[in-house]
């Protein structure tokens, strides 16, 4: 199971300036609440913002290491 550092590192690979807050919702590491703040989101639709984060976590989502991901994105 990815721990919160793995998750923020994976996101920062795609969004180097991102501030990432990861909350493990039920202690098993696969139900996460993640919020990402990055300048890269400026001018992007919510869908595009979320897609950027999903791309960064594509592997963990595909193999269901992350089963549930509640995501919020915003610009600083």
């Amino acid at each position: 199971m990815p721990n919160s550092t793995d998750v923020s590192n994976a996101i920062q690979q795609v969004l180097p300036d991102a501030e990432v807050i990861v909350e493990d919702l039920n202690g098993t590491g696969d139900h996460l609440q993640v919020s990402v703040i990055s300048n890269a989101f400026k001018g992007l639709s919510r869908i595009r913002q979320h897609q950027l984060v999903y791309q960064a976590l594509n592997k963990e989502l595909a193999n269901e290491e992350i089963h549930a991901l509640a995501l919020t994105t915003s610009t600083p």
Binding site: R46, H50, Q51, Y54, N58, L61, A62, L69, L71
Partner: protein, 107 residues
Amino acid sequence: MEPKTTKRIESLINASPIIVFMKGTKLMPQCGFSNNVVQILNALGINFETFDVLSDEEIRQGIKEYSSWPTIPQVYVKGEFIGGSDILIEMYNTGELKEKLEIALAS
């Protein structure tokens, strides 16, 4: 994804003004995120169709590729993908969702 799956998805998306690809059904959602979307649309008193991806693995994987969005549920309004649970909640809270749906259903 096989062309026949893409065609199936497109016909589902265009068959109704609002369709939710979800886990379970309106009355028996099988996942919290899918349930969020059903509750939001019910709260707005909006009529919508659903498709239970748990009943069809081809659609379950195909829809993720179709919208390049890796999670379920997925909400489509007049053929346009508008988001999953998180975005629906955000749009609902800002009032954007009610407006978008009213415009879509009026046209």
